[in-house]
Symmetry: C2
Subunit: 273 residues, 2 copies
Protein backbone atom coordinates (compact mmCIF):
# COMPACT_ATOMS: atom_id res chain seq x y z
CA UNK A 1 0.00 0.00 0.00
CA UNK A 2 1.21 3.49 -0.75
CA UNK A 3 1.33 6.01 2.05
CA UNK A 4 -1.25 8.76 1.70
CA UNK A 5 -2.63 11.37 4.06
CA UNK A 6 -5.44 13.89 3.74
CA UNK A 7 -5.21 16.81 6.18
CA UNK A 8 -2.61 14.97 8.19
CA UNK A 9 -4.59 11.73 8.57
CA UNK A 10 -4.20 8.48 6.62
CA UNK A 11 -6.79 8.50 3.80
CA UNK A 12 -7.04 7.21 0.25
CA UNK A 13 -9.88 9.34 -1.06
CA UNK A 14 -11.05 12.91 -1.38
CA UNK A 15 -14.59 14.35 -1.33
CA UNK A 16 -15.75 14.98 -4.89
CA UNK A 17 -16.62 18.61 -4.16
CA UNK A 18 -12.97 19.53 -3.68
CA UNK A 19 -11.97 22.48 -5.84
CA UNK A 20 -8.67 20.90 -6.85
CA UNK A 21 -10.76 18.36 -8.73
CA UNK A 22 -13.22 20.89 -10.11
CA UNK A 23 -10.85 23.62 -11.27
CA UNK A 24 -7.28 22.61 -10.48
CA UNK A 25 -7.67 25.21 -7.73
CA UNK A 26 -4.50 24.56 -5.79
CA UNK A 27 -0.76 23.96 -5.81
CA UNK A 28 1.64 21.07 -5.46
CA UNK A 29 5.20 20.19 -4.56
CA UNK A 30 7.21 17.09 -5.40
CA UNK A 31 9.78 16.56 -2.68
CA UNK A 32 12.69 14.17 -2.49
CA UNK A 33 12.81 12.40 0.85
CA UNK A 34 16.09 10.91 2.05
CA UNK A 35 16.45 9.09 5.37
CA UNK A 36 13.11 10.42 6.53
CA UNK A 37 13.89 14.05 5.72
CA UNK A 38 12.56 16.28 2.94
CA UNK A 39 15.34 17.76 0.77
CA UNK A 40 15.43 21.44 -0.16
CA UNK A 41 12.54 21.80 2.23
CA UNK A 42 12.84 25.55 2.82
CA UNK A 43 12.82 26.17 -0.93
CA UNK A 44 9.71 24.01 -1.39
CA UNK A 45 7.92 25.82 1.44
CA UNK A 46 8.99 29.18 0.04
CA UNK A 47 7.54 28.44 -3.41
CA UNK A 48 4.38 27.06 -1.84
CA UNK A 49 3.99 30.15 0.33
CA UNK A 50 4.36 32.38 -2.71
CA UNK A 51 1.81 30.27 -4.59
CA UNK A 52 -0.68 30.44 -1.73
CA UNK A 53 -0.26 34.22 -1.64
CA UNK A 54 -0.76 34.59 -5.39
CA UNK A 55 -3.85 32.36 -5.36
CA UNK A 56 -5.09 33.75 -2.03
CA UNK A 57 -5.25 30.31 -0.43
CA UNK A 58 -4.97 30.84 3.36
CA UNK A 59 -2.83 27.81 4.03
CA UNK A 60 -1.28 27.30 7.47
CA UNK A 61 2.30 26.76 6.30
CA UNK A 62 3.60 25.97 9.80
CA UNK A 63 1.05 23.22 10.33
CA UNK A 64 1.69 21.90 6.84
CA UNK A 65 5.42 21.95 7.42
CA UNK A 66 5.17 19.83 10.55
CA UNK A 67 2.77 17.40 8.84
CA UNK A 68 5.16 17.10 5.93
CA UNK A 69 8.07 16.36 8.26
CA UNK A 70 6.02 13.67 9.98
CA UNK A 71 4.96 12.26 6.61
CA UNK A 72 8.58 12.19 5.38
CA UNK A 73 9.70 10.45 8.56
CA UNK A 74 7.09 7.76 8.01
CA UNK A 75 7.91 7.48 4.30
CA UNK A 76 11.63 7.08 5.00
CA UNK A 77 12.82 7.43 1.43
CA UNK A 78 11.29 8.28 -1.91
CA UNK A 79 9.10 11.07 -3.21
CA UNK A 80 6.56 12.95 -1.13
CA UNK A 81 3.99 14.67 -3.28
CA UNK A 82 2.04 17.42 -1.58
CA UNK A 83 -1.14 18.97 -2.92
CA UNK A 84 -2.68 22.06 -1.33
CA UNK A 85 -6.24 22.58 -2.50
CA UNK A 86 -8.49 25.54 -1.75
CA UNK A 87 -10.81 22.96 -0.23
CA UNK A 88 -14.47 22.26 -0.80
CA UNK A 89 -16.89 24.60 -2.38
CA UNK A 90 -20.28 24.86 -4.00
CA UNK A 91 -20.59 24.75 -7.76
CA UNK A 92 -19.19 27.91 -9.39
CA UNK A 93 -15.83 29.61 -9.68
CA UNK A 94 -16.25 31.99 -6.73
CA UNK A 95 -13.81 30.95 -4.01
CA UNK A 96 -15.71 30.11 -0.82
CA UNK A 97 -15.36 32.68 1.97
CA UNK A 98 -14.03 31.57 4.38
CA UNK A 99 -12.30 28.64 2.74
CA UNK A 100 -10.77 25.61 4.41
CA UNK A 101 -7.71 24.57 2.46
CA UNK A 102 -7.00 20.86 2.34
CA UNK A 103 -3.67 19.05 2.07
CA UNK A 104 -3.03 15.74 0.36
CA UNK A 105 0.28 13.90 0.76
CA UNK A 106 1.20 10.79 -1.18
CA UNK A 107 4.39 8.79 -1.11
CA UNK A 108 6.06 6.91 -3.93
CA UNK A 109 9.46 5.31 -4.50
CA UNK A 110 12.22 7.40 -6.03
CA UNK A 111 12.11 6.90 -9.82
CA UNK A 112 14.80 4.59 -11.26
CA UNK A 113 16.36 6.91 -13.79
CA UNK A 114 19.08 5.30 -15.95
CA UNK A 115 22.52 6.23 -14.62
CA UNK A 116 23.51 7.20 -18.15
CA UNK A 117 21.19 10.21 -17.94
CA UNK A 118 23.41 11.88 -15.37
CA UNK A 119 26.69 10.46 -16.67
CA UNK A 120 26.45 10.74 -20.45
CA UNK A 121 23.58 13.17 -20.79
CA UNK A 122 20.13 13.00 -22.32
CA UNK A 123 18.36 13.65 -25.57
CA UNK A 124 15.46 16.13 -25.60
CA UNK A 125 12.24 15.69 -27.55
CA UNK A 126 11.21 18.89 -29.35
CA UNK A 127 7.63 19.31 -28.08
CA UNK A 128 5.16 21.11 -30.31
CA UNK A 129 2.89 21.89 -27.36
CA UNK A 130 3.64 25.47 -26.38
CA UNK A 131 3.33 27.16 -23.01
CA UNK A 132 0.75 29.94 -22.90
CA UNK A 133 1.93 33.26 -21.51
CA UNK A 134 0.14 33.98 -18.26
CA UNK A 135 2.13 36.25 -15.93
CA UNK A 136 -0.21 35.83 -12.94
CA UNK A 137 0.39 32.07 -12.85
CA UNK A 138 3.95 31.93 -14.20
CA UNK A 139 6.51 30.35 -11.91
CA UNK A 140 3.95 28.66 -9.67
CA UNK A 141 3.60 24.90 -9.39
CA UNK A 142 -0.18 25.08 -9.61
CA UNK A 143 -2.54 22.27 -10.48
CA UNK A 144 -3.45 23.47 -14.00
CA UNK A 145 -1.03 21.24 -15.88
CA UNK A 146 -2.75 20.21 -19.10
CA UNK A 147 0.05 21.76 -21.14
CA UNK A 148 2.58 19.43 -19.50
CA UNK A 149 0.26 16.44 -19.88
CA UNK A 150 -0.15 17.12 -23.61
CA UNK A 151 3.56 17.80 -24.09
CA UNK A 152 4.56 14.62 -22.28
CA UNK A 153 2.12 12.63 -24.42
CA UNK A 154 3.99 13.69 -27.59
CA UNK A 155 6.64 10.99 -27.28
CA UNK A 156 6.84 7.37 -26.07
CA UNK A 157 10.36 6.50 -27.16
CA UNK A 158 12.57 6.27 -24.03
CA UNK A 159 15.49 7.58 -26.09
CA UNK A 160 14.09 10.98 -25.09
CA UNK A 161 14.52 11.61 -21.37
CA UNK A 162 12.50 14.84 -21.37
CA UNK A 163 10.96 17.29 -23.84
CA UNK A 164 11.81 20.90 -24.62
CA UNK A 165 8.98 23.35 -24.09
CA UNK A 166 8.80 26.77 -25.70
CA UNK A 167 6.22 29.46 -25.12
CA UNK A 168 3.65 30.58 -27.69
CA UNK A 169 6.08 33.30 -28.81
CA UNK A 170 8.78 30.70 -29.45
CA UNK A 171 11.06 31.41 -26.48
CA UNK A 172 12.80 28.43 -24.90
CA UNK A 173 11.38 27.97 -21.39
CA UNK A 174 11.99 24.60 -19.75
CA UNK A 175 11.72 20.82 -19.90
CA UNK A 176 8.36 19.14 -19.38
CA UNK A 177 9.43 18.20 -15.85
CA UNK A 178 12.65 20.17 -15.37
CA UNK A 179 14.22 23.57 -15.72
CA UNK A 180 16.83 24.34 -18.33
CA UNK A 181 20.19 26.10 -18.23
CA UNK A 182 22.71 26.92 -20.92
CA UNK A 183 26.33 27.96 -20.71
CA UNK A 184 27.22 30.72 -23.15
CA UNK A 185 30.88 31.90 -23.06
CA UNK A 186 31.18 30.96 -19.36
CA UNK A 187 27.94 32.74 -18.48
CA UNK A 188 25.24 30.54 -16.92
CA UNK A 189 21.85 31.46 -18.40
CA UNK A 190 18.38 30.20 -17.52
CA UNK A 191 15.09 31.38 -19.04
CA UNK A 192 13.00 34.00 -17.33
CA UNK A 193 9.82 32.50 -15.88
CA UNK A 194 7.87 35.76 -15.73
CA UNK A 195 5.39 34.72 -18.41
CA UNK A 196 5.26 30.91 -18.18
CA UNK A 197 7.03 27.94 -16.68
CA UNK A 198 7.57 26.50 -13.23
CA UNK A 199 10.28 28.00 -11.03
CA UNK A 200 11.85 24.78 -9.81
CA UNK A 201 13.49 24.54 -6.41
CA UNK A 202 16.56 22.91 -7.99
CA UNK A 203 16.78 25.83 -10.44
CA UNK A 204 17.02 28.17 -7.45
CA UNK A 205 19.59 25.88 -5.84
CA UNK A 206 21.71 25.73 -9.02
CA UNK A 207 21.64 29.52 -9.33
CA UNK A 208 22.75 29.91 -5.72
CA UNK A 209 25.49 27.30 -6.01
CA UNK A 210 26.75 28.97 -9.18
CA UNK A 211 26.86 32.38 -7.53
CA UNK A 212 28.71 30.95 -4.52
CA UNK A 213 31.22 29.41 -6.92
CA UNK A 214 31.76 32.75 -8.61
CA UNK A 215 30.03 31.76 -11.87
CA UNK A 216 28.32 34.72 -13.54
CA UNK A 217 24.58 34.06 -14.08
CA UNK A 218 21.81 35.67 -16.09
CA UNK A 219 18.05 35.11 -16.05
CA UNK A 220 16.46 36.28 -19.26
CA UNK A 221 14.75 35.42 -22.50
CA UNK A 222 16.30 32.59 -24.47
CA UNK A 223 15.76 31.94 -28.17
CA UNK A 224 16.01 28.57 -29.87
CA UNK A 225 18.97 29.95 -31.83
CA UNK A 226 20.77 30.85 -28.60
CA UNK A 227 20.11 27.36 -27.31
CA UNK A 228 21.56 25.83 -30.48
CA UNK A 229 24.66 27.99 -30.16
CA UNK A 230 25.17 27.28 -26.44
CA UNK A 231 28.42 25.67 -25.29
CA UNK A 232 26.68 23.50 -22.70
CA UNK A 233 23.06 22.70 -21.91
CA UNK A 234 21.61 20.97 -18.89
CA UNK A 235 18.35 20.19 -17.14
CA UNK A 236 17.65 20.08 -13.43
CA UNK A 237 14.95 19.04 -11.05
CA UNK A 238 14.66 18.26 -7.38
CA UNK A 239 14.60 14.48 -7.80
CA UNK A 240 17.61 13.84 -10.04
CA UNK A 241 19.72 16.97 -9.67
CA UNK A 242 21.35 17.76 -13.03
CA UNK A 243 21.27 15.93 -16.35
CA UNK A 244 23.53 17.22 -19.14
CA UNK A 245 21.69 17.64 -22.45
CA UNK A 246 23.54 15.92 -25.27
CA UNK A 247 21.12 16.26 -28.13
CA UNK A 248 18.15 18.21 -29.48
CA UNK A 249 17.10 17.66 -33.09
CA UNK A 250 20.40 17.37 -35.02
CA UNK A 251 22.37 19.48 -32.56
CA UNK A 252 24.79 17.55 -30.32
CA UNK A 253 26.53 19.08 -27.31
CA UNK A 254 29.47 17.75 -25.32
CA UNK A 255 29.03 17.40 -21.56
CA UNK A 256 30.71 20.58 -20.41
CA UNK A 257 32.97 21.39 -17.49
CA UNK A 258 30.59 23.81 -15.78
CA UNK A 259 27.76 21.30 -16.06
CA UNK A 260 29.96 18.70 -14.34
CA UNK A 261 30.98 21.14 -11.65
CA UNK A 262 27.40 22.16 -10.83
CA UNK A 263 26.33 18.52 -10.99
CA UNK A 264 28.82 17.69 -8.26
CA UNK A 265 27.76 20.68 -6.18
CA UNK A 266 24.09 19.65 -6.13
CA UNK A 267 24.63 15.89 -6.10
CA UNK A 268 25.08 15.58 -2.37
CA UNK A 269 22.59 18.00 -1.02
CA UNK A 270 21.93 17.17 2.53
CA UNK A 271 18.63 18.36 3.86
CA UNK A 272 18.91 22.12 4.24
CA UNK A 273 16.78 22.14 7.33
CA UNK B 1 -27.79 14.95 0.72
CA UNK B 2 -26.69 15.93 -2.74
CA UNK B 3 -26.83 13.37 -5.49
CA UNK B 4 -23.40 12.23 -6.68
CA UNK B 5 -22.17 9.34 -8.79
CA UNK B 6 -18.71 8.12 -9.69
CA UNK B 7 -18.57 5.89 -12.76
CA UNK B 8 -22.32 5.49 -12.68
CA UNK B 9 -22.53 4.45 -9.03
CA UNK B 10 -23.50 6.55 -6.02
CA UNK B 11 -20.29 7.79 -4.35
CA UNK B 12 -19.14 10.85 -2.47
CA UNK B 13 -15.39 10.49 -2.85
CA UNK B 14 -12.64 9.97 -5.37
CA UNK B 15 -9.30 8.14 -5.06
CA UNK B 16 -6.52 10.66 -4.45
CA UNK B 17 -4.47 9.36 -7.38
CA UNK B 18 -7.00 10.64 -9.90
CA UNK B 19 -5.37 12.82 -12.55
CA UNK B 20 -8.18 15.38 -12.47
CA UNK B 21 -6.98 16.20 -8.97
CA UNK B 22 -3.28 16.06 -9.83
CA UNK B 23 -3.25 18.04 -13.07
CA UNK B 24 -6.79 19.09 -13.92
CA UNK B 25 -6.47 16.35 -16.53
CA UNK B 26 -10.04 16.22 -17.73
CA UNK B 27 -13.14 18.05 -18.88
CA UNK B 28 -16.49 19.11 -17.48
CA UNK B 29 -20.00 20.08 -18.47
CA UNK B 30 -22.63 21.97 -16.52
CA UNK B 31 -26.03 20.84 -17.68
CA UNK B 32 -29.46 22.24 -16.92
CA UNK B 33 -31.91 19.47 -16.04
CA UNK B 34 -35.63 20.10 -16.40
CA UNK B 35 -38.25 17.50 -15.58
CA UNK B 36 -35.61 14.78 -15.45
CA UNK B 37 -34.13 15.61 -18.83
CA UNK B 38 -30.80 17.27 -19.67
CA UNK B 39 -31.22 20.41 -21.83
CA UNK B 40 -29.11 21.02 -24.93
CA UNK B 41 -27.83 17.51 -24.38
CA UNK B 42 -26.53 16.91 -27.91
CA UNK B 43 -24.52 20.12 -27.78
CA UNK B 44 -23.02 19.19 -24.41
CA UNK B 45 -22.07 15.74 -25.70
CA UNK B 46 -20.63 17.25 -28.86
CA UNK B 47 -18.35 19.63 -26.96
CA UNK B 48 -17.34 16.83 -24.61
CA UNK B 49 -16.53 14.55 -27.53
CA UNK B 50 -14.37 17.24 -29.10
CA UNK B 51 -12.61 17.79 -25.78
CA UNK B 52 -11.93 14.08 -25.33
CA UNK B 53 -10.47 13.96 -28.83
CA UNK B 54 -8.25 16.99 -28.25
CA UNK B 55 -6.99 15.64 -24.92
CA UNK B 56 -6.89 12.03 -26.18
CA UNK B 57 -9.13 10.78 -23.39
CA UNK B 58 -10.79 7.56 -24.65
CA UNK B 59 -14.17 8.19 -23.07
CA UNK B 60 -17.12 5.96 -23.95
CA UNK B 61 -19.57 8.72 -24.87
CA UNK B 62 -22.50 6.34 -25.38
CA UNK B 63 -22.11 4.86 -21.92
CA UNK B 64 -21.65 8.30 -20.45
CA UNK B 65 -24.71 9.56 -22.27
CA UNK B 66 -26.94 6.83 -20.84
CA UNK B 67 -25.51 7.36 -17.35
CA UNK B 68 -26.15 11.06 -17.62
CA UNK B 69 -29.75 10.46 -18.69
CA UNK B 70 -30.25 8.15 -15.72
CA UNK B 71 -28.62 10.69 -13.42
CA UNK B 72 -30.84 13.49 -14.76
CA UNK B 73 -33.94 11.35 -14.31
CA UNK B 74 -33.01 10.78 -10.68
CA UNK B 75 -32.09 14.44 -10.13
CA UNK B 76 -35.41 15.61 -11.57
CA UNK B 77 -34.55 19.31 -11.79
CA UNK B 78 -31.47 21.44 -11.23
CA UNK B 79 -27.92 21.34 -12.47
CA UNK B 80 -26.03 18.17 -13.35
CA UNK B 81 -22.31 18.72 -13.32
CA UNK B 82 -20.28 16.12 -15.17
CA UNK B 83 -16.53 15.67 -14.85
CA UNK B 84 -14.62 13.33 -17.16
CA UNK B 85 -11.15 12.61 -15.79
CA UNK B 86 -8.38 10.71 -17.52
CA UNK B 87 -8.53 8.42 -14.49
CA UNK B 88 -5.85 7.22 -12.15
CA UNK B 89 -2.18 7.27 -12.83
CA UNK B 90 1.21 7.07 -11.22
CA UNK B 91 3.10 10.22 -10.32
CA UNK B 92 4.28 12.09 -13.42
CA UNK B 93 2.67 13.86 -16.37
CA UNK B 94 2.80 10.92 -18.80
CA UNK B 95 -0.76 9.77 -19.46
CA UNK B 96 -1.14 6.12 -18.44
CA UNK B 97 -1.44 3.68 -21.34
CA UNK B 98 -4.04 2.27 -21.41
CA UNK B 99 -6.03 4.72 -19.34
CA UNK B 100 -9.36 4.21 -17.67
CA UNK B 101 -11.31 7.46 -17.77
CA UNK B 102 -13.56 8.16 -14.82
CA UNK B 103 -16.81 10.09 -14.68
CA UNK B 104 -18.13 12.10 -11.76
CA UNK B 105 -21.68 13.47 -11.71
CA UNK B 106 -22.98 15.81 -9.05
CA UNK B 107 -26.37 17.40 -8.76
CA UNK B 108 -27.27 20.80 -7.35
CA UNK B 109 -30.35 23.03 -7.38
CA UNK B 110 -30.76 25.55 -10.16
CA UNK B 111 -29.21 28.87 -8.98
CA UNK B 112 -31.68 31.54 -7.91
CA UNK B 113 -30.63 34.36 -10.19
CA UNK B 114 -32.48 37.66 -9.60
CA UNK B 115 -35.24 38.08 -12.19
CA UNK B 116 -33.94 41.58 -12.86
CA UNK B 117 -30.84 40.10 -14.50
CA UNK B 118 -32.88 38.79 -17.42
CA UNK B 119 -35.45 41.58 -17.41
CA UNK B 120 -33.45 44.76 -16.87
CA UNK B 121 -29.96 43.55 -17.66
CA UNK B 122 -26.75 43.24 -15.68
CA UNK B 123 -23.65 45.20 -14.87
CA UNK B 124 -20.26 43.65 -15.75
CA UNK B 125 -17.19 43.85 -13.57
CA UNK B 126 -14.05 44.72 -15.60
CA UNK B 127 -11.73 41.88 -14.59
CA UNK B 128 -8.01 42.54 -14.65
CA UNK B 129 -7.23 38.81 -14.84
CA UNK B 130 -6.52 38.07 -18.48
CA UNK B 131 -7.01 34.85 -20.44
CA UNK B 132 -3.77 33.33 -21.73
CA UNK B 133 -3.69 32.47 -25.42
CA UNK B 134 -3.45 28.71 -25.85
CA UNK B 135 -4.93 27.47 -29.13
CA UNK B 136 -4.70 23.76 -28.24
CA UNK B 137 -6.99 24.23 -25.23
CA UNK B 138 -9.13 27.12 -26.48
CA UNK B 139 -12.85 26.44 -26.68
CA UNK B 140 -12.73 23.39 -24.41
CA UNK B 141 -14.39 23.21 -21.02
CA UNK B 142 -11.36 21.59 -19.44
CA UNK B 143 -10.51 21.42 -15.75
CA UNK B 144 -7.67 23.98 -15.78
CA UNK B 145 -9.73 26.92 -14.56
CA UNK B 146 -7.48 28.99 -12.32
CA UNK B 147 -7.95 32.02 -14.56
CA UNK B 148 -11.70 31.93 -13.97
CA UNK B 149 -11.20 31.36 -10.23
CA UNK B 150 -8.89 34.39 -9.98
CA UNK B 151 -11.15 36.53 -12.16
CA UNK B 152 -14.25 35.62 -10.12
CA UNK B 153 -12.39 36.48 -6.92
CA UNK B 154 -11.89 40.05 -8.13
CA UNK B 155 -15.30 41.25 -6.99
CA UNK B 156 -17.72 40.53 -4.15
CA UNK B 157 -20.30 43.24 -4.76
CA UNK B 158 -23.49 41.57 -6.10
CA UNK B 159 -24.15 44.67 -8.19
CA UNK B 160 -21.90 42.90 -10.71
CA UNK B 161 -23.59 39.78 -12.13
CA UNK B 162 -20.53 38.62 -14.05
CA UNK B 163 -17.11 39.89 -15.08
CA UNK B 164 -15.68 40.74 -18.46
CA UNK B 165 -12.60 38.76 -19.45
CA UNK B 166 -10.10 39.86 -22.07
CA UNK B 167 -7.11 37.94 -23.36
CA UNK B 168 -3.50 38.88 -22.73
CA UNK B 169 -3.54 40.84 -26.02
CA UNK B 170 -6.52 42.88 -24.84
CA UNK B 171 -9.23 41.32 -26.99
CA UNK B 172 -12.70 40.96 -25.45
CA UNK B 173 -13.42 37.23 -25.04
CA UNK B 174 -16.22 36.32 -22.64
CA UNK B 175 -17.75 36.57 -19.20
CA UNK B 176 -16.25 34.61 -16.31
CA UNK B 177 -19.09 32.11 -16.61
CA UNK B 178 -20.78 33.10 -19.84
CA UNK B 179 -20.20 33.92 -23.48
CA UNK B 180 -20.65 37.42 -24.83
CA UNK B 181 -22.39 38.82 -27.90
CA UNK B 182 -22.69 42.31 -29.27
CA UNK B 183 -25.03 43.80 -31.84
CA UNK B 184 -23.30 46.18 -34.23
CA UNK B 185 -25.51 47.77 -36.93
CA UNK B 186 -27.85 44.75 -36.90
CA UNK B 187 -24.95 42.29 -37.15
CA UNK B 188 -24.66 39.80 -34.29
CA UNK B 189 -21.01 39.40 -33.30
CA UNK B 190 -19.38 37.06 -30.82
CA UNK B 191 -15.65 36.73 -30.11
CA UNK B 192 -13.58 34.07 -31.77
CA UNK B 193 -12.54 31.37 -29.31
CA UNK B 194 -9.58 30.09 -31.31
CA UNK B 195 -7.00 31.31 -28.80
CA UNK B 196 -8.83 31.31 -25.47
CA UNK B 197 -12.26 31.04 -23.92
CA UNK B 198 -14.91 28.37 -23.50
CA UNK B 199 -17.21 27.63 -26.43
CA UNK B 200 -20.49 27.54 -24.53
CA UNK B 201 -23.36 25.37 -25.68
CA UNK B 202 -25.75 28.31 -25.32
CA UNK B 203 -23.45 30.37 -27.54
CA UNK B 204 -23.82 27.72 -30.23
CA UNK B 205 -27.58 27.69 -29.69
CA UNK B 206 -27.85 31.48 -29.91
CA UNK B 207 -25.83 31.48 -33.14
CA UNK B 208 -28.09 28.83 -34.64
CA UNK B 209 -31.30 30.56 -33.54
CA UNK B 210 -30.02 33.82 -34.99
CA UNK B 211 -29.20 32.22 -38.33
CA UNK B 212 -32.64 30.56 -38.45
CA UNK B 213 -34.20 33.94 -37.79
CA UNK B 214 -32.24 35.48 -40.66
CA UNK B 215 -29.97 37.58 -38.44
CA UNK B 216 -26.50 38.03 -39.95
CA UNK B 217 -23.76 36.74 -37.61
CA UNK B 218 -20.00 37.07 -37.39
CA UNK B 219 -17.43 35.28 -35.24
CA UNK B 220 -14.23 37.25 -34.98
CA UNK B 221 -11.90 39.33 -32.88
CA UNK B 222 -13.53 41.98 -30.73
CA UNK B 223 -11.78 45.01 -29.27
CA UNK B 224 -12.83 46.85 -26.13
CA UNK B 225 -13.51 49.87 -28.30
CA UNK B 226 -15.89 47.85 -30.49
CA UNK B 227 -17.64 46.64 -27.36
CA UNK B 228 -18.05 50.20 -26.09
CA UNK B 229 -19.50 51.26 -29.45
CA UNK B 230 -21.90 48.31 -29.71
CA UNK B 231 -25.63 48.94 -29.97
CA UNK B 232 -26.53 45.99 -27.76
CA UNK B 233 -24.53 43.65 -25.56
CA UNK B 234 -25.62 40.41 -23.93
CA UNK B 235 -24.29 37.37 -22.09
CA UNK B 236 -25.49 33.81 -22.37
CA UNK B 237 -25.01 30.49 -20.67
CA UNK B 238 -26.81 27.18 -20.53
CA UNK B 239 -28.36 27.77 -17.10
CA UNK B 240 -29.95 31.21 -17.48
CA UNK B 241 -30.22 31.69 -21.24
CA UNK B 242 -29.57 35.36 -22.06
CA UNK B 243 -28.91 38.37 -19.84
CA UNK B 244 -28.74 41.78 -21.46
CA UNK B 245 -25.66 43.78 -20.41
CA UNK B 246 -26.61 47.24 -19.23
CA UNK B 247 -23.33 48.57 -17.93
CA UNK B 248 -19.57 48.21 -18.06
CA UNK B 249 -17.44 50.92 -16.47
CA UNK B 250 -19.17 54.20 -17.36
CA UNK B 251 -20.79 52.85 -20.54
CA UNK B 252 -24.51 52.15 -20.31
CA UNK B 253 -26.46 50.27 -22.98
CA UNK B 254 -30.20 50.01 -23.51
CA UNK B 255 -31.72 46.53 -23.68
CA UNK B 256 -31.99 46.12 -27.41
CA UNK B 257 -34.63 44.59 -29.65
CA UNK B 258 -32.42 41.80 -31.02
CA UNK B 259 -31.37 40.84 -27.49
CA UNK B 260 -35.04 40.57 -26.51
CA UNK B 261 -35.85 38.54 -29.59
CA UNK B 262 -33.03 36.05 -29.01
CA UNK B 263 -33.87 35.90 -25.32
CA UNK B 264 -37.40 34.77 -26.21
CA UNK B 265 -36.08 32.24 -28.72
CA UNK B 266 -33.84 30.51 -26.19
CA UNK B 267 -36.04 31.01 -23.13
CA UNK B 268 -38.21 28.01 -23.69
CA UNK B 269 -35.81 25.44 -24.97
CA UNK B 270 -37.32 22.09 -24.64
CA UNK B 271 -34.87 19.26 -24.38
CA UNK B 272 -33.39 18.86 -27.85
CA UNK B 273 -33.12 15.10 -27.52
Amino acid sequence: MTLSWVDGQPAAGLPIHDRALAYGDGLFETIKVVRGRPELFDRHLQRLTLGCERLAIPCDIDLLSSQLRAFSAELGGGVAKLIVSRGEGKRGYAPPIPCQPRTVMTGSPLPHYPKAHAEQGVRLFPCTTRLAEQPILAGLKHLNRLEQVLARAEWQDPVFADGLMRDTSGRVIEGVFSNLFIVESNLLVTPSLERSGVAGVMRAEVLEQARHAGVPTRIGDLSLEQLYHADEVFLCNSLYGIWPVRQLDARVWPVGALTRKLQRLVADLSSDT
